[in-house]
């Protein structure tokens, strides 16, 4: 069974690779490369896969999931400038693709046993989102 919880955070970023020239960054990222940054209301949907516990009837305690999302994602990223304040985005370009993968890396160690992280979906806007999932080891 899959269960999904949604949270939101707002953050600013610049999409530019320091190894490239300003013109190259402009060509690659468009207005996303504006040097002073811009922001989004990100919406994160985290999906867990597992079987409901026969006693509690729950795949995972949603209150605990809320706390994990708050600790691993919302507290470090909400109302932050990702490039300057949230590692590894001082070195890694904070594209939606890379932010989704980083959120997976932060969340994945929190789950074990019969419940596993199944998918991370990150909406940069209502009309653009990225799904990220790693194969089970």
């Amino acid at each position: 069974m899959l269960i999904t919880r949604r949270v939101e955070f707002s953050a600013s970023h610049v999409c530019a690779n320091p190894a490239l020239s300003e013109a190259q960054n402009r060509a690659l990222y468009g207005v996303g490369a504006n040097p002073h940054g811009h922001g989004h209301n990100y919406v994160l949907e985290v999906t867990l896969a597992g079987d409901p516990d026969p006693v509690t009837g729950m795949v995972f305690d949603l209150r605990e999931l809320k706390e994990i999302l708050q600790r691993e994602v919302v507290e470090p990223m909400d109302h932050r400038f990702l490039n300057r304040e949230v590692a590894p985005f001082d070195k890694v370009v904070p594209t939606t693709e890379n932010i989704a993968a980083e959120i997976w890396r932060r969340l994945e160690p929190n789950f074990g046993g019969s419940t596993r992280l199944s998918n991370v979906r990150l909406y940069e806007t209502e009309d653009l989102f990225v799904d990220y999932a790693e194969e089970a080891a």
């Binding site: 690779n17 990222y29 594209t95 939606t96 653009l128 990225v130 799904d131």
Partner: protein
Amino acid sequence: MTRLTRRYRFSASHRLHAPELSEQANRELYGKCNNPFGHGHNYLAEISVTGTPDPHSGLLVRVPALDELVERTVLRDLEHCDLNRSLVNVVPTSENVAAEIVRRLEAAWPAEFPKLAGVRLWETKRNRFELRHEEQ
């Protein structure tokens, strides 16, 4: 696995009518959708690509390049159009419109783009039609 999905909107009219069937059979099959003067919808198309983001840019695809492709190959012919004219020799059900969108994208798909993962077409908020690339 990284999959990026972009949403596009277009408004169009259509009439569901199979020329092989009688007027009576069409009315029974398609109901109100067979209204001879047609009707319209606000369609929402979700186009997904999948692959590994470029390690230097962090991008799976340049979204403006995807937007340009979709605008040129899909939206230009469908936005504020009569789908019975945009689609040739096929009843413009959302099943067929979704398949047509996939055909148009595939015909113009740039070699440097990641794989087309699928197209999901919403006819209304209550009806959606999904084609995965492999099902083509």
